[in-house]
Symmetry: C2
Subunit: 564 residues, 2 copies
């Protein structure tokens, strides 16, 4: 079956030229670019006046953070010209281990975009995490035999790399020996420590926030992934990298992307569009998001409109607005005039689905599980949120336990619980948090980085217990509770972090949950569930809550609640 | 063992910047680039005022064409900053098959430069060639397991690729399936045929002679190897490729390089130097010859001065003159202030050496083997040389066999013989050649592309037989004979195409042989042995001599000597 795309202008990512040329496709591949005619093809698509560019590649994304299954993510992303994503199933692996990765492989088979997988390198993220699984080098290695597995995902444990930790180096050396890519994640690492990190074989990073930081990486041989997702938005900080020579060593990634943002603003197309608005060249952006992404991952036949390359194409109505009209994946038209061609969901084996849909292993909870055994006024370590940032400060506050076991909504001091939910150990970290603004009820979620234990913030023990049990009952999700009833909720039954709903429903539910929290007093510029999801991540400074209690990144240890 | 290179300026091939930085090496690798000090190292080399660039990589060379064994080639090449060559042992494979490739692997083990191997794709070059071996896809495949084997060498049979010949496609598909590189060789291929050739997975070419030809390749996704060797010199024709965006998809190669040229002018350094003289940037040239060559072959840790990269470095006194002062290979100083650090020759197993040193399988010859059975005047097809080109024309001339069996030195019509020498079949092609200018005696050689049979050009049967027997007696070489005695000779006992003499001796002997031929009447602007070596190559138009007789590339068949 031969298809001709006729009359268009090809974006040549090898030369940055715009070439008037017809594109001839046979089955899954491009076989010619030039003066081919109707006589050469079985089927002709007129793309006169349009631009044909390679389909976009997102070099680093966590699909779980979209809260959608891969198929639903694909339905939303291909509309924006995405042909491939390199995904790191770090979240589901922290819940379900190797089976979680298997699930993602099965759930992304045969989609209208290529979903490549990097095997999570840091499960659990730290030894203080109680995750649902641990992945050693021996657990990781078998995945490298799978054709869609490209390497080892973001090596967040840069301390382990720099210090030469054996478990960490085993994973790195095994990936290197097999010729696999190793992604980096080492914000602000510089100088000698960066040299050590790069020398270990980690040749990219997506955590750069300033052009100076990024330029040091590039000089040392790393590729820089310019990240602009829903939460972390580094494009403007790194906009200079679109200039020569820097752009040659960069690609475009989203890392985390939420459904509403994906629908409203787009995906990789959005990053290019924003760069064009900031005065940069669309062709440079397209090259970064296609050929250079493919080269970074050793994908020899992806990322260009040229003979022998996969017929993964985004046809644009206009170059500078990156307005995606048609999308081809492996020669098949998957988007026509902005409309998705429907496809069947991948078949997932029953056992894997069962495993992922039953990731909760936790007995039901009661009020006393949220009670802190203390009386009178005690000086406590309180997690003090910093607005619009993931880092927190430690506040030493006098907590009056005689009143509502220390909760004081006037002073915005709320109770916080992180409950181990993978092995029913009963481990629960209890303490206080300031800066959320909730005046009534409780919120709970099973999305809590990186171990995705059950996290609850509330104004009272009854609502906290109710909220926790409700999330447990849903098999995962986000809930808002007031006076013993559900105000809003979003079920996330897949590993407690994803739903099988389509993007539009995910966006709506997410919005409803958020709105309901604001009605309970949380200021409109605070995203309580996103904030809460990072309160349990020990690797981010300075003080976080784990299932073992408060963790200080400064002392790199569990610290007591009481400071008196 | 840590070594510091202190005070130099690093040529950063990622950014094209010149950076004042110290380079810290541990054992074989660079571990840091920056403000390292004496305190960090066991050993310090002051390179103040000098430039530190990655060692140069020749992306395509036939070592056999230097007539030197790999060790002697290395002794000459490392002085010019060469750290790696990607070699195609096509010549020895045509003589000794797989054993020839094994020999080259053993003979290049542990040298002060990395000798990578591409497995010859076209042994024999055509079905009309009587080579010493045939290499099928099954013969080639086992070599891909060897760490220094990077892929399939230049696919000269572009007709076979374009037409989808099974044997050819088997070799290509096997290399592709194993993720190996496939080098191209398809001069002047363009348009739809080029699309087919590239679509097969052949992503480079070194045969481009004009910028327009090269630009079409680059647009279609091929890398262009800018070739400037001893014989084919394409630099000036391709000099525009040093400009943006073209230089990003180019590397520098020599293909064929002779000892005298290597000693007098240099290697890859010479190409960069010539480009600088033509107004181009040295840094661009260095980038093409290092990082880009490494990327083309998937050599992840080669071609840059950066943490984790092999400590293969060329230290230059001056950038624009590319004057190589010191050279490091895997952290070891192999050239100091322009002087080679001596090293032992690689050990070669006795059986392989024996095989290669006894590549002649040919009974001794006598005058009548060079006699053409004809009488009177006959119209004959005569190979008409085109000065300074490898192509030939066919002349239809009246040959008077009554006089010296057709030889006429007045009209410069000499006798030509190509004698099968691998299996003693007795196959001999006999005919005439015009344009050499030899007035007396005979010349013979076992260097004759691509099958390296025994080729003889002479003014009489006695001297031709003597010359042929002399080459046979040497086990290979080039000889100049006059009146039954040796005027000059160069033994090439290794597969009949190489010697174990050092470069300076090879250059001298080669010069002596050439000079002696000029004394016998050959004009000074003709290189008779090089010309003769291509008279037997059927793939080059228009008419050539094989062991089966004259071959016409126009009819792609053996054609009779007599045209009347």
């Amino acid at each position: 079956m031969k298809t001709l795309l006729k009359g268009g202008t090809v974006v040549n990512v090898f030369t940055d030229e715009l070439e008037k040329a017809n594109v001839l496709i046979e089955d899954e591949r491009i076989i010619g670019v030039g003066d081919y005619s109707e006589a050469d093809a079985d089927c002709v698509h007129d793309v006169s006046g349009k631009y044909i560019c390679p389909g976009f590649i997102d070099g680093h994304i966590h699909i779980e953070s979209t809260m959608m299954l891969p198929a639903e993510f694909a339905r939303a992303a291909v509309l924006h010209g995405t042909s491939a994503v390199v995904s790191d199933p770090h979240e589901i692996a922290n819940v379900c281990g190797s089976e979680g990765i298997e699930f993602m492989l099965e759930a992304s088979e045969g989609l209208p975009l290529d979903m490549y997988i990097m095997v999570p390198s840091c499960v659990p993220a730290t030894s203080f995490d109680e995750s649902g699984a641990e992945l050693s080098a021996a657990d990781i290695d078998p995945f490298y035999r799978r054709s869609r597995v490209l390497g080892l995902a973001e090596m967040m444990n840069y301390v382990g790399v720099v210090s030469g930790d054996k478990g960490v180096m085993d994973k790195i050396n095994s990936a290197k020996a097999k010729g696999k890519v190793i992604n980096g994640h080492a914000p602000l690492l510089s100088g000698r420590d960066l040299d050590k990190y790069v020398a270990a074989g980690i040749r990219d990073d997506h955590e750069c926030s300033s052009a100076d930081e990024a330029k040091e990486r590039i000089r040392k041989g790393q590729r820089v992934m310019i990240r602009n997702g829903t939460a972390a938005r580094n494009l403007y900080g790194l906009i200079d990298l679109f200039d020569d020579p820097w752009n040659r060593r960069c690609l475009l990634v989203t890392d985390d992307k939420h459904a509403a943002d994906l629908i409203a603003n787009g995906h990789i197309d959005d990053i290019i569009r924003l760069a064009v608005k900031a005065g940069k060249s669309a062709v440079t952006g397209i090259r970064m998001a296609t050929l250079q992404a493919a080269e970074a991952f050793g994908l020899k036949n992806e990322g260009a409109v040229a003979p022998g390359y996969s017929a993964n194409l985004a046809v644009l109505d206009d170059l500078d607005s990156v307005s995606v009209c048609d999308v081809y994946h492996l020669g098949k038209k998957v988007v026509s005039a902005g409309k998705l061609e429907e496809f069947e969901n991948p078949k997932i084996s029953a056992a894997l689905k069962e495993r992922v849909l039953h990731s909760f292993n936790l007995s039901s909870l009661c009020e006393k599980d949220f009670h802190i055994a203390a009386s009178g006024i005690r000086k406590c370590r309180v997690i003090d949120l910093v607005k619009h940032q993931l880092i927190t400060e430690e506040a030493l506050l006098d907590i009056d336990f005689s009143n509502n076991n220390g909760v004081d909504t006037e002073k915005d001091i709320l109770k916080l619980a992180v409950i181990e939910r993978h092995r029913n150990t009963g481990h629960t970290g209890l303490g206080f948090i300031r800066g959320i603004g909730l005046k009534d009820g409780a919120i709970a979620a099973s999305v809590s980085h990186d171990s995705h234990n059950l996290i609850v913030i509330g104004t009272g023990e009854a609502d906290m217990a109710f909220a926790a049990n409700r999330v447990r009952g849903l098999g995962g999700g986000m809930v808002v509770i007031r006076k013993g009833s559900v105000v809003a909720e979003m079920p996330l039954p897949y590993a407690g972090i994803m739903t099988d709903s389509p993007a539009s429903d995910v966006a709506k539910q997410n919005e409803a949950v958020r709105e309901s929290v604001h009605a309970l007093g949380v200021p409109s510029d605070i995203e309580p569930f996103m904030t809460m999801a990072f309160v349990s991540l020990p690797v981010i400074p300075k003080i976080k809550m784990t299932t073992h209690g408060l963790f200080s990144s400064e002392s790199w240890s569990i610290v007591p609640l009481f400071a008196d």
